[in-house]
């Protein structure tokens, strides 16, 4: 075993082969170097800088990277929620479509044609709205000149 091999095994701890030990025991320069390396190691440990408190800048930067992390993690959940909403929407539309047929309609529901004030043949949004709110329809029919008469009449 060479001087270096023996010293390396002794310096790096762990299981030390007897061969290395016996070499160092019988080799004065190796013993001297081993002592010196031990002193260097101790000096290194003593020179370890003392830790200061973590800076706020670091914390802020790290926390700033979190939303991106959360966004990435939120993607599958968001996709699942959209899919679920789509499926539920489709399912409820599927339920509504047969409900408009007179045969399966529950008693509280009524076909559009059965509503006496419902517009016939015109299914535009405005006419549907006016059908739903007949009072509004009456007001919308009041013209500027009529307004005076209306107030007068009241």
């Amino acid at each position: 075993m060479t001087h270096e091999e023996a010293l390396e095994r002794l310096v790096c701890q762990g299981p030390v082969p007897l061969e290395a030990l016996s070499h160092v025991e019988s080799c004065a320069p190796c013993r001297e170097e081993l002592r010196a390396l031990g002193k260097t190691e101790k000096a290194l440990r003593r020179a370890r800088p003392v830790l200061s408190a973590p800076s706020r800048k670091g914390t802020v930067l790290a926390l700033e990277s979190l939303p991106a992390l959360a966004r990435r993690r939120a993607w599958p959940a968001a996709a699942a929620a959209i899919l679920l909403a789509g499926l539920l929407g489709g399912w409820s539309l599927g339920r509504l479509a047969p409900a408009s047929a007179a045969t399966t309609a529950p008693p509280q529901e009524m076909a559009l044609s059965e509503i006496p004030w419902a517009p016939s043949g015109d299914d535009s949004t405005l006419s549907l709205l006016q059908a739903a709110y007949p009072v509004a329809e009456r007001f919308s029919a009041v013209t500027a000149t009529d307004t005076g008469n209306f107030i007068e009449a009241e």
Binding site: C12, L44, R45, R46, P54, G58, L63, A70
Partner: protein
């Protein structure tokens, strides 16, 4: 123990602030100290430490559970330090030499100037003269108290190579520290 650590990791992955804060409290200091020893510039070490932590959080998905959290973080920090040091020769105009910064710049750095005593100053100056790989092994071993197995993981070396680096680093340090005593 392992269960608690896994739970902590999951909380970090979920972005729970408390868990992330605990991570920062535990690792920011050691990572910054390691980088300070490597680059010898507290401001750059601070920036690199922050970058290491941000990269760690960004690449948390790639973290393998069998590696220790500390080892993984030091691995990121070490790669950043090497990138930083390899860019050093491009700053030769600043220092007037074509040698790498770690090899030629022996002026006392802030760390050395602020060192509590003369011995610590000598150690820091001698550390600067070590090759990055040897410096990394010495710092991880004596300051961060990593095992040779962990050091080997951080540096991507065989355990025996890490031990050899440590031994030769100690020898070189001794030589450099003694040389400083010479008139």
């Amino acid at each position: 123990m392992a269960e608690a650590r896994n739970q902590w990791l999951e909380q970090i992955k979920a972005g729970e602030l408390g868990a992330v804060q605990k991570l920062l409290d535990e690792f920011t200091g050691p990572v910054r100290r390691y980088l300070e020893g490597m680059v010898h510039n507290p401001a750059q070490a601070e920036d690199l430490a922050q970058e290491a932590l941000v990269r760690f959080l960004e690449h948390l998905g790639q973290f393998r559970q069998e590696a220790s959290l500390r080892t993984y973080l030091f691995q990121i920090a070490h790669n950043l330090a090497l990138n930083h040091l390899s860019a050093a020769p491009t700053r030769k105009e600043e220092y007037g030499s074509e040698e790498p910064l770690w090899a030629e710049d022996r002026r006392p750095g802030v760390l050395a100037l602020l060192a509590a005593d003369e011995e610590a100053g000598k150690v820091h100056l001698a550390l600067r003269r070590l090759a990055p790989q040897q410096r990394a092994v010495v710092i991880l071993r004596t300051w961060e108290e990593l095992s040779f197995k962990e050091i080997a993981q951080v540096l991507g070396l065989a355990e025996g190579t890490a031990k050899a680096h440590y031994f030769f680093a100690l020898r070189n340090l001794r030589k450099y520290m003694e040389a400083k005593d010479d008139p």
